[in-house]
Amino acid sequence: MLEISELQRDYITEILNISMGSAASVLSEMVSEEVALSVPEVDFLPRSIAAGKFDQSNVSKMSGVTQSISGAVYGDALLMFPEEKTLSIVRILLGETVPVESLTEMEQEAMCEIGNIILNAVVSSIADILKKEIMSSLPRFIHGTGNEVFSVESGNNDDLVMFLKVDFGLESQSINGYVTLILNVDSLQGFIAQLDEQINAI
């Protein structure tokens, strides 16, 4: 596990929260309703431990959105919620929808857009810290158990992932989701170095 200092953690969290704030205002404007987004926790974990976190949480199925990322950081960025939470997010945001037990095609597409906005905000924060370019693909809807969803793309279980908890505030409820970002070791070291440089410059 990668140890980062409190100061480093605070700095990342703050940068992430700034871009989450703008993602939230984009979403709020789109749905004419107050949407709040925040990142209360940031961790760096091996992929296998991160995957285990989902299966501990007594959630049978997860669903969410994934984008491939390339450039300074490679791999996948995933935004995941317990299945029924995804359903409530989409249904609260879209208002009246088809009352069936899973998301319809159009609802999945809407969820992809919501995920796209959030993941782009996370990716752009990381690119800002790294001062390097990160490109991301179009979003794709994913669905399955924690482990299935997590190993959607092949990868080494020892890869470190950046694991963020995301609070999705809607109407009177707050829904917890998770963003994971796969970082290769080189970019991770670059990331820490850049982080220190920026903190020292403050």
Partner: protein
């Protein structure tokens, strides 16, 4: 799809250097999606045939013109900002139809010349080539998907309403049945009590003819009461109001009680109940009264369908986590054509049997519901002419 076009582009370049612009243009024009390309000056530099048709804007009007001049109403809208993001930070975006109504002013020409607004889903993707940045905008017509989900919405609503009406009707039926049965039971009970006293001779000796008639009245009152009790059970089961008090039950004690309770009934048919070895201390998890009701039903059925002088055997067989209780008779067995509906309501093998044999035809249906609600199973084996074995599997009580 977008990535296919990119791959295709690469392949064309690889095999036909230099790329034939007219060939590539034709490929784009055959696309079933709208495609246009914006350069880093925000000018449109590619506009496929689909876009020409849906926007009614020809290439000569669009190519080389700034995006916001072609679509002045989209200035400051989300689509403009995601195009900027694609060109400035190489970010790909998706604009869904549900969260962005009418992204571009695009229309479908319908038969008869009428134009209808096109439902769209839009993807915006950065492309780099020869050191230049471009943004590819792809529009998919999701009108059929929207129509399909509209139909689905109407159907789901109708189905919900129909279900509500059906549930109300069913609840009314159950309430009606249970109220009527209750109301019938009270006077019937007092009729049976009075007739019972007369039949027993406490009220004085009856003339033989009168005794026969009163006997008929008494027996039929009794039958009517059984029927009403069964109907009450069925309506409780159907409305989910049958309560179960689940507890550890000592199986041997219960079986002995059940055999004793049915002894007199068996004597009417000259049938003897034989309870084979049961281990002491076998404990099942069940509602005592309901389990007793099921056992009584099986024992009385076995007696009814046995020949005179025969035995009815009761066996207890342990099976992993459950225990099986078998009630075996040596009657005529169950006719094949009746086997599939034996657990249905009001079923007896021969409609005419009802009078000869007695009973309501509800007993096995009730037993099945009871056993299943207690987490067990019920079934039978039969050989024509040799008898039938009914069994119930009940959960063992697990102390741990």
């Amino acid at each position: 799809m977008l990535s296919d076009i990119n791959n295709m582009e690469r392949e064309v370049i690889a095999e036909h250097v230099p790329l034939s612009a007219s060939l590539f243009g034709k490929v784009l024009d055959f696309s079933e999606n709208g495609l246009f390309l914006v350069d880093s000056d925000r000018k449109i530099i590619l506009w496929n045939e689909w876009m020409v048709q849906a926007s009614s804007l020809g290439r000569e009007e669009v190519i080389g013109t700034a995006f916001v001049d072609v679509f002045p109403n989209l200035k400051g809208r989300r689509i403009e900002s995601v195009i900027n993001a694609a060109l400035d930070t190489r970010t790909a975006s998706l604009l869904s139809r549900s969260l962005n109504k009418a992204i571009f002013p695009l229309y479908l020409s319908e038969v008869g010349g009428e134009k209808r607004h096109l439902e769209q889903s839009v993807t915006v993707k950065p492309i780099q080539s020869n050191g230049h940045d471009y943004c590819l905008i792809q529009i998919t017509d999701v009108t059929p998907m929207v129509q399909r989900e509209d139909v689905l919405r109407v159907l789901a609503k109708e189905a919900g309403e129909a279900l509500q009406v059906a549930e109300e009707a069913s609840r009314f039926k159950s309430e009606f049945t249970s109220t009527v049965s209750h109301e019938l039971r009270t006077p019937l009970t007092s009729i049976r009590g009075s007739l019972g006293l007369i039949v027993s001779g406490v009220m004085g000796e009856l003339r033989p003819e009168m005794a026969r008639l009163v006997g008929i009245a008494y027996n039929n009152t009794e039958r009517l009461l059984f029927l009403i009790n069964d109907i009450l059970d069925i309506s409780k089961i159907e409305s989910g109001k049958m309560d179960f008090v689940m507890e550890p039950v000592d199986l041997k004690t219960l079986l002995l009680q059940s055999v004793e309770a049915n002894q007199a009934y068996g004597e009417q048919y000259e049938v003897k109940y034989v309870l084979n070895d049961v281990d002491d201390g076998v404990t099942v998890y069940a509602d005592t009264d309901r389990l007793m009701q099921v056992l009584n039903n099986l024992l009385s059925n076995a007696a009814k369908f046995s020949s005179k002088g025969a035995e009815v055997e009761i066996n207890v067989i342990p099976k992993d986590a459950v225990i099986r209780v078998e009630v075996k008779d040596y009657g005529n067995g169950i006719p094949e054509k009746f086997q599939s509906r034996i657990f249905e309501k009001f079923s007896q093998a021969d409609g005419s049997d009802t009078r000869k044999i007695g009973g309501t035809g509800l007993g096995l249906s009730i037993s099945k519901s009871i056993i299943e609600q207690m987490g067990g199973a019920i079934g039978f084996d039969t050989v024509a002419g040799k008898g039938a074995t009914f069994y119930i599997d009940i959960c063992l009580f697990n102390d741990a």
